[in-house]
């Protein structure tokens, strides 16, 4: 499905990560695998450090902290927020929505729209599309798009297919109208029939949490995981990305008459360094144009990883000027989405620690 927008822009990005850092070398002690194989996993996949929340910390805590930071520095006025969107799969509660919780905690105005969207890997692109749609309404001049997860609370320490790559974070992206003429083009595809490749089996209405769903099960290759934990079929996701993402981006470029190689950056969702290097090689894109360093420094935090890739790699460029970017997200759903837009200059673009 294709989308076109005009006169919209991202004006600032703030990413918030927990100060608490874990290392792969620590995590490795819990794995049932020979040390040499774990070290090989670290080298091949590109794992090292990640940030995780302390017990009980929720996504609204990270969001409120970040928004208060922006308010205190006069980078954002509370009364200017006309729409608040949260892209997350780890809400504070099933009811009420987490955006309502945040709105309540910050005392934001009643005349606004709050919307939770259950999305992750492709979620930042989906969230931008939703933000741009809202801005087509006269009543909505400024949208705050929050994206991120606290998935570290939902992974098994004895599952080396997922534990070492998950990180927690939230990104706060301010989206507003733009007087310039630049156009934004996007495309989204969905395939729920393959959705079980990335799932948390228990905790919803289909299979509520119980003592049984918390039991660690042997899932092969000496990994242990419970139904309460996040499951990812690594090879299925790898094949999905390699077969679906290049054609999606190529089709977007040819529909809009853009040369795929003329853009400045490919800011992709960050599953891990290995997958991004293979994707870049498949598309014949130099690794320098497709940053892949988020997971080795902070872990994979779902919908926050595209803004994080932007913040930690191209902040200086985007604060001083602009760049042509292709954003691409792929994963939970399954969903895959791409967007071509000009980024910058940004009023703010930085990463802060949640203590």
């Amino acid at each position: 499905m294709n989308f076109s927008f005009r006169n919209k822009r991202i004006s600032g990005v703030l990413t918030v990560v927990p100060a608490n850092e874990r290392s792969f070398l620590e995590d490795m002690k819990n794995f049932n695998a020979p040390e040499a194989r774990s070290l090989k996993l670290m080298e091949v996949m590109g794992y090292d450090k990640r940030r995780v929340v302390s017990e009980g910390v929720c996504i609204s805590d990270l969001a409120v902290f970040g928004l208060q930071n922006l308010f205190s520095r006069s980078l954002l006025k509370p009364e200017d927020i006309d729409a608040l969107i949260l892209i997350s799969q780890t809400p504070d509660y099933l009811v009420p929505p987490t955006t309502s919780v945040i709105q309540g905690r910050l005392g934001l105005k009643q005349d606004m729209l709050c919307l939770d969207i259950n999305q992750a890997c492709a979620g930042f692109v989906i969230g931008l599309i939703q933000s741009f749609m809202f801005l087509e309404q006269e009543s909505i001049r400024k949208v705050v798009l929050l994206s991120g997860d606290v998935l570290s609370r939902k992974v098994s320490p004895k599952d080396r297919t997922i534990y070492p790559l998950v990180g927690d974070a939230i990104a706060i992206t301010v989206v507003e109208r733009d007087s310039g003429e630049s156009s934004i083009e996007a495309t989204v595809k969905m395939d729920g029939s393959r959705g079980n490749a990335l799932s948390i089996p228990a905790g919803g209405m289909r299979l509520p949490c119980s003592p049984q769903t918390a039991v660690l099960e042997d899932v092969g290759d000496n990994n242990l995981r419970a139904k309460d934990h996040l499951f990812m079929d690594g090879s299925a996701i790898f094949n999905f990305v390699q077969t679906e993402v290049p054609p999606l981006i190529n089709a977007l470029c040819s529909r809009t008459g853009r040369d795929i190689y003329s853009g400045d950056y490919f800011l992709c969702h960050q599953p891990n360094r290995f997958m991004l290097q293979k994707l870049a090689d498949k598309m014949k894109i130099p690794h320098a144009k497709m940053p892949n360093n988020v997971v080795e420094r902070f872990g994979n935090s779902g919908g926050a990883t595209i803004p994080m890739a932007l913040t930690i790699n191209v902040a200086d460029h985007l604060k001083a000027g602009s760049a042509r970017a292709c954003l691409a997200g792929f994963g939970a759903g399954l969903t895959w989405a791409a967007m071509l837009l000009t980024l910058g200059p940004l009023s703010f673009c930085e990463l802060i620690d949640y203590p």
């Binding site: 194989r37 090989k40 790898f238 094949n239 498949k282």
Partner: protein
Amino acid sequence: MTDFLKKLAEILEVPEVKSSDELKAFPQWDSLAVLSVIAMLDANYGVNLRAADFATVQSAGNLWNLVESKKRS
């Protein structure tokens, strides 16, 4: 097939892999090796195997036959 066997040997961190060698017998044959092989097959032969496909494969030669059959289809 020679090139394929050389690439397999690199992934399995052994000097040589013969077509008759049983994959599961290699000490480095685990889910990381399987993912590395899947990536190698995608990059070099344009074939996308799933981890489940490896259950039916015994030897390196079997794997090569599977790859060839997927290339044709």
